[in-house]
């Protein structure tokens, strides 16, 4: 066990994290401090805030009633973000380690994760506050212990749903059923959940439930790994289920359809792009946050900002990693019979097609009135005509290789992320707001929209010039990019 830990430590010390440049490291640490700080602050303050704001005697009750959502959200975020332990077990299989020890070590290691530390940063101070405020010691401890068990149960449940479809669909169906029953008032889980979470405090012996849940999930994961503990098994990267979808129907769209087809395969058959595209789909609903609230109604700058996201979600999230998506086979793309310009143009077409599709999908926003929809349309024009080129240009500066079939890790993975990425984001988001806001202030709302839309059309007219310029930039950095993408991680 000791040896394994020392090996892991070496692996950690020598990992890319410590070889990353300082700026990124600082960003990661800042991010960690930020979220950690929020959790700590909420842990200490939420008790008093709830007491004050909601005027209740027992804030713990309120917290309890929210916990069910919290744990579900936690599971969801874990599913998308948390990296499962991938361990190169091959060298250990033939060395004198006991399997039991390796698995135990592996499972313990999953415990040391940002996703488990963060909740602790909330629950520990919160429980201390409870004690200070005169809550019973035994009850508070059992409540805290229950939370601890649930957090780590989530940790293991995440492993199960990631590895086995049965668990994934089971839990998905279960959750959907709960939400449906909740909304149609058949069975209000939140009321009962409230009672259950309160019971951890009120009836200390109930703590046996979360404890057994933790034990059960641990055992399930343990058995799963034990059964698959071979080189081709569960914890080595597994060959993915083969998908028959090959998008041949796109062939009829000629050359462009051909590239689109390949990019669709890229997206559907690899973990990382799938993750990014899912996120970009969620951006479609970004407008709902802003359009539904009256405070933003008069803050046109915010409306413009939101509208850029509605149609630009894919462009902003997927597009910023062009050409890193092709980093694994970049040498092929650079030496095959495709000119740099054609290659770039195909990427541009993908992004603009996505923008256009998002725009069509955003038609229901008409519900919020023509004013908002015209803003979305203006934003779409800007995204297609200008943002697409800015994004593509930004890609020339992005030389971080990307592993396609690995999830992005929170705070330990900055693959294909660099400070230049941040800088290039500024014109993408601030640009349209300025384009809209200045004529809006000088003339009127329509003038703002027209300027925004016109900028996009001008961009489209200048397509060739833009692409030529971008191609030159890429050509200049070509050797550097190839070398950077070639670096083993």
């Amino acid at each position: 066990m000791k040896k394994l830990i020392s090996l892991a430590w070496k692996g950690f010390r020598r990992s890319s994290y410590f070889q990353m440049n300082l700026a990124i490291r600082i960003l990661i640490i800042l991010g960690f401090i930020y979220f950690g700080g929020i959790a700590l602050f909420m842990g200490v303050a939420s008790f008093y805030i709830i007491k004050k704001a909601m005027d209740v005697d027992d804030p713990l009750m309120i917290v309890n009633s929210f916990l069910i959502y919290w744990f579900l959200a936690d599971l969801l975020i874990r599913f998308f973000m948390q990296q499962l332990p991938v361990m190169n077990i091959k060298p250990y299989l033939i060395l004198p380690f006991r399997r039991r020890n390796i698995i135990r070590y592996l499972l313990t290691r999953t415990g040391v994760s940002f996703f488990n530390i963060l909740p602790l940063l909330f629950f520990v101070p919160f429980s201390i506050v409870l004690l200070i405020e005169g809550y019973s010691i035994v009850s508070t401890l059992t409540w805290f212990l229950s939370m601890l068990c649930l957090v780590f149960s989530n940790n293991f449940i995440n492993f199960l749903i990631n590895k086995t479809n049965a668990y994934f669909y089971g839990i998905l169906a279960f959750t959907v059923a709960l939400v449906l029953m909740e909304t149609y008032g058949v069975f209000k889980i939140t009321e009962y959940a409230d009672d259950v979470f309160s019971a951890f405090y009120e009836q200390p012996y109930v703590v046996i439930l979360p404890l057994s849940l933790l034990y059960l999930t641990y055992k399930l994961v343990y058995n799963y790994i034990r059964k698959h503990f071979y080189v081709d098994g569960a914890i080595s990267k597994k060959a993915e289920n083969f998908s028959k979808r090959d998008f041949t129907w796109l062939d009829r769209f000629g050359k462009m359809g051909f590239f689109l087809k390949n990019d669709l395969k890229l997206i559907t058959r690899n973990v990382r792009p799938r993750q990014v595209v899912l996120m970009s789909f969620l951006f479609l609903f970004y407008g709902l946050i802003f359009y539904t609230q009256d405070i933003y109604r008069d803050m046109q700058g915010f409306i413009a900002f939101a509208s850029i996201f509605v149609t630009g979600g894919f462009l902003l999230s997927f597009g910023q990693y062009v050409p890193a998506w092709d980093s694994e086979y970049y040498k092929l793309m650079m030496s095959q019979n495709i000119s740099y310009k054609k290659y770039l143009e195909s990427k541009w077409s993908l992004m603009t097609t996505a923008c256009f599709l998002s725009f069509i999908l955003s038609i229901p926003y008409i519900y919020f009135g023509w004013e908002i929809f015209s803003m979305i349309a203006g934003g779409a024009a800007f995204n297609i005509g200008l943002n697409s080129f800015i994004t593509l240009y930004g890609g020339a500066l992005n030389r971080q290789p990307m592993k396609l079939n690995e999830k992005a890790k929170a705070f330990s993975n900055t693959q294909a992320f660099s400070p230049t990425q941040l800088i290039i984001t500024i014109p993408k988001l601030v640009g349209p707001i300025i384009l809209f806001y200045i004529p809006y202030k000088i003339f009127n709302y329509e003038a703002g929209i027209i300027t925004l839309a016109a900028s996009g059309i001008v961009g489209l007219l200048l397509k060739n010039q833009f692409l030529n310029f971008i191609e030159k930039t890429y050509q200049k950095g070509k050797y550097k990019t190839i070398a950077a993408f070639d670096e083993k991680q």
Binding site: F242, K265, S335, Q336, N337, I338, N405, A483
Partner: protein
């Protein structure tokens, strides 16, 4: 015809390749031999404009490769796995290359039907992505991929490594056939002296980035090469303090 003029490549002022002049006539099968770090992959990468020459130039069929992209239509290569697209199946990969090279699906299928033996039933019709295939099978896919679209220049780095004995023999037959029919100029590197002497009409030995031998292959070539490397090995044991081929070949 490919001409190398006064080309050199340095990494941090360490010279890893330096060739004054070398001409490869059209249709020749050209073998590159040398120890690790001798500069074989570096030279191939220069042919494909994947790295920038510190000085000098390579001209392929009248096109300076570092100045124009016009060499791409008639050049193909398989250097390493980064020439494969991991999330495609073998068929999809071949069709992808075919499409880039202006070949229809039917033309690609016809070409592939000629490689049934070479594939040994392990490549086509597999419900497997390339990333999940064995190293040897990946190599087969990469080599055949490099033959699609009638290229005039074919560059293969270590094509024999990782292949099973049967496939090695079949690959040799394949390369010989291409040479006999004068379809393309083939550039091959290998550590296996026997294979290269069998396949290539001409063999150049690189050492520390410099060509030290340029042999027209004959009966005696294998012996000559073996003697050369045996001598190298002795010299190195004698003067163990001489550090050889300092730079990583994979650069």
């Amino acid at each position: 015809m490919i001409t190398i003029d006064n080309i050199s490549k340095e990494y941090n002022t360490v010279e890893v390749l330096n060739i004054d002049h070398l001409e490869i006539p059209e249709g020749q099968s050209f073998g590159l031999v040398g120890n690790n770090g001798a500069g074989k992959t570096t030279l191939f990468s220069l042919f494909l404009d994947l790295i920038q020459p510190t000085k000098g130039k390579i001209t392929s069929h009248g096109i300076v490769v570092s100045e124009s992209e016009e060499w791409k239509p008639f050049t193909s290569a398989f250097i390493d796995e980064s020439f494969l697209i991991g999330y495609l199946t073998a068929e999809e990969y071949f069709n992808f290359i075919g499409e880039l090279r202006g070949r229809t699906k039917e033309q690609v299928d016809e070409l592939l039907s000629g490689f049934k033996d070479f594939f040994h039933g392990e490549i086509l019709g597999q419900k497997k992505y390339l990333r999940d295939m064995s190293k040897g099978n990946q190599k087969k896919v990469g080599i055949v991929g490099a033959l699609i679209g009638d290229p005039k220049v074919i560059i293969l780095d270590e094509p024999f490594a990782n292949l099973d004995p049967t496939t090695q023999i079949r690959l040799k037959q394949l390369l010989k056939k291409i040479t006999e029919e004068r379809q393309a100029t083939i550039l091959v590197s290998s550590h296996d002296l026997m294979h290269v002497t069998e396949v290539c009409e001409r063999i150049v030995v690189l050492e520390s980035g410099k060509p030290v031998k340029d042999i027209k292959t004959s009966e005696a070539t294998l012996k000559e090469l073996e003697a050369y490397f045996a001598e190298r090995s002795e010299q190195e044991t004698e003067s163990a303090d001489v550090v050889e081929g300092s730079n990583d070949e994979q650069h």
